[in-house]
């Protein structure tokens, strides 16, 4: 049986997971700031969270029962939701990483991650208070 506590802690867990994956995407963008033809990627956090909470799952791979069958790449949920960033100032080498935007997004996402951790901590502390009754 899922209690209200389970539900609300699961919400923050999903958010934390998505934030960790977004942090990874943003780190890739910052790492590839000088790679020719690299296209910066990001996820829209609101849509991603709604998708993850509504129970959207990773797309299933096609079953290959014969050796000649072509297997389609199973897209993960994050791959379905991630998009390429719109270019503001084009570079000659085809790179679309804008360091200001990436650093700002990285710092913002780190703060959101810490906020989620704080929320989970607070909920656990309240539960602890309720159990010990002190």
């Amino acid at each position: 049986m899922k209690t209200q506590f389970d539900k609300s802690i699961q919400f923050h867990q999903t958010a934390l997971n998505l934030q960790a994956q977004r942090q990874q995407l943003l780190a890739s963008n910052i790492a590839n700031a000088d790679t020719p033809n690299y296209k910066a990627r990001d996820i829209d956090f609101r849509t991603a969270l709604q998708g993850a909470l509504s129970g959207a799952r990773d797309r299933m791979p096609l079953a290959t029962t014969q050796p000649a069958h072509l297997g389609a790449d199973p897209d993960t949920l994050l791959q379905q939701l991630s998009g390429y960033r719109t270019e503001l100032q084009s570079a000659v080498d085809g790179n679309t990483v804008n360091m200001d935007i990436e650093r700002a997004a990285f710092a913002e996402n780190a703060l959101h991650y810490e906020a989620s951790v704080t929320f989970i901590n607070g909920m656990l502390r309240s539960m602890n208070t309720a159990i010990t009754g002190q």
Binding site: L16, N17, A20, Q21, Q23, Q24, L25, A27, S28, I30, A31, N32, A33, D34, T35, P36, Y38, T76, L78, Q79, S82, M99, R103, F106, A107, A110, Y113, E114, V117, I120, N121, L124
Partner: protein, 134 residues
């Protein structure tokens, strides 16, 4: 776990940028080397960056695929008394563009700092995560 991949991503970028800094240092040091180890004038070396997945399609790190020699023409200096001078009295000097190398150096050091900062942030976030429920 996605937050741990950030270390690999930023680590690959640190590696690549330090290699770029190394080639820049070689180029600047040999800006006037008339004879390199092959008997020819030194030619400027440049690194080629390529994006490379470190763990899954969302974690893209950087790799130096090759170190190429600059195709720029050699600098000709009129020095008839130099033993390396040709019949017309010109000495072939390295094709190192010192201004370009200085710009490269600053760019590499800034990119290095950025990725070190990314690593620090990921470390802080992981520490917070480990302290959940304490």
């Amino acid at each position: 776990m996605s937050m741990l991949n950030v270390f690999q991503i930023a680590g690959s970028a640190l590696n690549a940028q330090s290699l770029r800094l190394n080639t820049t240092a070689s180029n600047l040091a040999n800006a006037d080397s008339v004879v390199a180890e092959d008997g020819q004038p030194y030619r400027a070396k440049q690194v080629v960056f390529a994006a490379r997945p470190v763990a899954g399609p969302e974690a893209i790190g950087v790799q130096v695929t090759q170190v190429v020699e600059s195709a720029a023409p050699l600098r000709l200096v009129y020095e008839p008394n130099n033993p390396a001078a040709n019949a017309e009295g010109y000495v072939e000097m390295p094709n190192v563009n010192v201004v370009e190398e200085m710009v490269n150096m600053i760019s590499a050091s800034r990119a290095y700092q950025n990725n070190a900062e990314v690593m620090n942030t990921a470390r802080t976030l992981l520490q917070r995560t480990l302290q959940i429920g304490q």
